[in-house]
């Protein structure tokens, strides 16, 4: 039992536990990362036996949960939207084969994007895979929808996707709940290789079954008053109606309430696929024009048949990219009201303020690595030692190495390695020895580094790979990696030794250095360069090992060093541009660089970077 202000992801976790979910797997990724830890918090406080795991990647997470779901259990796996790309292979096939228990895939979208490579819309992935999708508008609805998704999945033996967007995941809302208990459903597996290992011929039959399931679920979605509903008055016609789903629905609802607009009816579609055709039909015929407000792509709008009536992305009335924040939705509704010569809203009155702020030329605050971050030291040494190299990198805090000139590319998880081999072969074909340094974090390496590294070794690519091993998945909020041997619930697992995994991929050059020691790191890079160029050499791997200063606050810096700047500082800005430590700043009054002692963590790495030797121990 409880009464708490929960994060949206906490509300999802609560929904999972309330729905009797027995297995939860996940790979962290903003905005989904807090779901699994919140499940862990609930199972500990309530003494439940739910199985939880941080899987090594999203496909692994989905496969694991899927096996539970064909053992009659209720299972879920959680990831960010681009994680579902990794798990897509598994998803597409699971949709055909189906389940015996329940499988709910929670894929969190990031309109904005705030912390992702793309703004892709998981609802389209659901459409592609032909599985039902639910689109909550706030944390409370997300919690209710988890239960609905579990029930639907079990009843129709089909995976169901819940796609909370970032404003659900990272919203906070006060919620209360009753007693939580274990689900005692036991695992069973009925052998049926014709289904579980179906050959292409039977896949056609399964596809037919899937289509039949969708037809039935579509009908169910037409009478789902908690999540799919409208407020038409019978027999009345309207000049304009709004159709909205997910987070934009909650924004539309608040705006119409604040503006006291009862003249605009709203059709809310919380379960957009399979599309509730019979619910949308009378709404469409009662309104002369319809404005569709949905995030981030075009799903509901595609399903509406009478396109002449519909205003949305296809007609240019809704921006095709970017988050639909309240002022954007307020503005776009108002534009439509003006176009249709309907009573417009009062001016939002923010334009003058926006222009004022623009004129102030405020400093742009780009995200940067934390003071004392070991990645900063690594990038400094790499940039200094291998200035002419192409720097392929990857997804994590260290993508911010681009501020330090240490990152040239960032494509997707694991691409630092695969692109390094791709670059190598492209240049080698022209007999050019292009230096390449790839950087990847420890968690990302475990996620999808090994397949690329095996491939690169096998195909004799040549590059330096620096694995930035800070013993944590930092960017997403400090989840353990397989290297730690600590599992999602805090219990002990078997720690995977990174260097053994690298050696297992066929790499013969492996050095382990502490990047805080810039001289040692530089020496290692020199040796690695030689090895890469040697005809008898190969790929050189340097493991830059130093714990994250945030995750291991107490012992990441065993001996704190107080630094100060002497009058030798000539204001060349080298330290600010190449090292970019938040604790170093230009003190306009002193006319030189200074140290912000409240931010400095005393790592002492900067003692080795000033060309004039102006940074000293005080």
């Amino acid at each position: 039992m409880g009464n708490e202000i929960l994060l949206g992801n906490g509300a999802v976790a609560l929904g999972l536990v309330e729905a009797g979910c027995q297995v939860v797997t996940s790979y962290p990724g903003t905005p989904s990362s807090e779901i699994l830890p919140e499940v862990v918090r609930l199972i500990k406080s309530e003494g439940l036996n739910t199985y939880v795991e941080w899987s090594t990647n999203e496909k692994v997470a989905l496969d694991n949960a899927y096996a539970a779901a064909i053992s009659g259990k209720r299972a879920a796996c959680c990831m960010k939207q681009v994680g579902l790309n990794v798990a897509a292979d598994s998803l597409m096939s699971a949709a055909y084969i189906g389940t015996t228990g329940a499988l709910v895939i929670i894929s969190c979208d990031d309109p904005g994007p705030h912390s992702s490579q793309t703004e892709q819309d998981t609802r389209l992935m659901a459409r592609l895979a032909k599985v039902p999708v639910l689109d909550p508008s706030n944390p409370q609805e997300a919690r209710e929808m988890v239960k609905l998704a579990m029930d639907l999945s079990e009843e129709f033996r089909i995976p169901v996707i819940l796609r909370p967007a970032i404003r659900v995941c990272h919203a906070r809302q006060n919620l209360s709940w009753g007693p939580l208990k274990n689900n005692d459903q036991k695992a069973y597996f009925i052998k049926d290789p014709g289904r579980w290992a179906a050959t292409p011929r039977f896949r056609l039959v399964l596809h037919g079954e899937l289509n039949e399931k969708l037809r039935k679920i579509g009908r169910r979605f037409e009478t789902l008053p908690a999540h799919n509903f409208h407020n038409l008055e019978p027999g009345k016609t309207y000049p304009l109606g709004i159709i909205a789903g997910g987070v934009p629905y909650s924004v539309v609802r608040d705006i119409l309430n604040e503006e006291k607009r009862t003249d605009i009816p709203v059709l809310k579609i919380g379960a957009p696929y399979p599309f509730p055709e019979a619910l949308a039909k009378p709404f469409m015929s009662s309104c002369k024009k319809l404005l569709v407000v949905e995030e981030t792509d075009t799903v509901i709008e595609y399903f509406l048949r009478d396109k002449k009536k519909v205003l949305g992305r296809l007609s240019g009335h809704v921006p095709p990219q970017g988050e639909l924040v309240p002022q954007v939705i307020h503005g776009l509704i108002n534009n439509v009201l003006n176009d249709l010569q309907l009573n417009p809203f009062n001016d939002n009155g923010d334009q003058e303020a926006i222009d004022l702020v623009k004129g102030l030329e405020l400093p742009v605050r780009r995200p940067t690595l934390c003071p004392g971050c070991p990645h900063r030291a690594s990038f400094f040494a790499i940039r200094k030692g291998r200035a002419k190299a192409i720097f392929t990198s990857d997804i994590g805090c260290y993508t911010l190495g681009l501020n330090l000139g240490g990152v040239d590319t960032c494509l997707d998880m694991g691409a630092s390695i695969t692109m390094a081999s791709g670059f190598y072969h492209s240049f080698a074909q022209d007999e050019v020895q292009q230096p390449i340094v790839a950087t990847i974090g420890d968690s990302t390496f475990f996620h999808s580094g090994t397949a690329g590294l095996l491939n690169a070794v096998y195909n004799d690519a040549r590059f330096i790979l620096v694995i930035l091993d800070n013993a944590i998945t930092a960017m997403t909020g400090m989840q353990p990696t397989p290297g730690l041997g600590i599992r999602a619930d805090g219990s002990k697992g078997k720690a995977i030794t990174l260097e053994k995994a690298v050696a297992g991929c066929g790499v013969d050059f492996i050095e382990i250095v502490d990047p805080y020691d810039i001289k040692a790191m530089s020496a290692s890079l020199k040796k690695a360069t030689k090895y890469v160029k040697d005809p008898e050499g190969g790929i050189a791997v340097i493991i830059a090992r130093h714990p994250c200063v945030i995750a291991y606050r107490e012992n990441a810096i065993p001996k704190k060093i107080k630094v100060t700047i002497t009058d030798n500082c000539v204001e060349c800005n080298f330290c600010l541009d190449r090292f970019e430590c938040p604790a170093l700043f230009k003190d306009e009054e002193l006319g030189r660089v200074a140290v912000d002692q409240t931010l400095c963590v005393g790592c002492g790495v900067c003692l080795d970077i000033c060309p004039k030797g102006a940074i000293v121990e005080s």
Binding site: I5, L7, T30, P31, S33, H114, S115, S137, N138, P139, R167, H170, A171, R172, Q173, N174, V247, Y249, S250, V251, R253, D254, I255, E258, V325, P326, Q327, H330, N348, G349, D350, E352, A353, I354, L356, V357, G359, L360, L362, P363, R365, R366, P367, T368, L369, C370, C397, T399, L400, M475, T476, G477, P582, T598
Partner: protein, 189 residues
């Protein structure tokens, strides 16, 4: 009750989320509903951080521009950046040296719109008490002197007492009280 919209901002690491948590908890302790929005992930690494808090019965977590009743900023430039959120009857509270705030270009707009603005050297107050990371509590204490709706000084103080970890409780309350003191001095002027 009409919903109250609050925007809290500053830089990553300044304790904006804790400040939001205090206000949210204080509101739910009075049986008010809250919904809010936070910044996580890449955006949190040292960049601008904005947190939204809405008290009352609303569905969506974000404050619309032009509708915040209160804007609390732990950094001067971040305060300017977020001025568009303020309602024309809103109030702005900023951690900044009183003699320089606000910038000359901003003053006419604030005067014209009737936005109430006050600054307090919250960072200095916190630093003076040996808690340089607690400027958030000094600002909150200062703010609490001037408004009783929807949360009073007592509501906030009780919540801080309730949710601070034991080893920070005394210092947190001390910094909050110092902010209150500063507010009282100013309200007497």
């Amino acid at each position: 009750m009409k919903p109250i919209n609050i925007v809290l901002c500053g830089l990553g690491g300044q304790g904006i989320l804790f400040m939001t948590k205090i206000m949210a908890q204080a509101a739910t302790a009075k049986d008010l509903n809250i919904i809010g929005a936070e910044t996580h992930g890449m955006a949190q690494r040292g960049g601008s951080v904005v947190s939204h808090l809405r008290i009352g019965d609303v569905e969506n977590s974000l404050v619309k521009t032009g509708s915040a009743h209160f804007l609390l900023s732990l950094e001067e430039n971040e305060a300017y950046r977020n001025i568009p959120f303020l309602d024309r009857e809103g109030s702005l509270y900023v951690n900044a040296k009183t003699d320089r705030f606000p910038r000359a270009e901003v003053k006419p707009y604030l005067k014209k719109t009737g936005i109430i603005y006050r600054s307090v050297p919250a960072g200095e107050i916190a630093m003076g008490l040996g808690a340089p990371m607690s400027s958030n509590l000094a600002l909150l204490g200062f703010f609490s002197v001037f408004h009783e709706v929807p949360l009073t000084y007592e509501d906030l103080r009780e919540t801080i007492d309730h949710i601070s970890p034991d080893r920070f409780k005394e210092i947190n309350l001390k910094v909050f009280d110092a902010g209150v003191q500063k507010g009282k001095e100013e309200s007497r002027l």
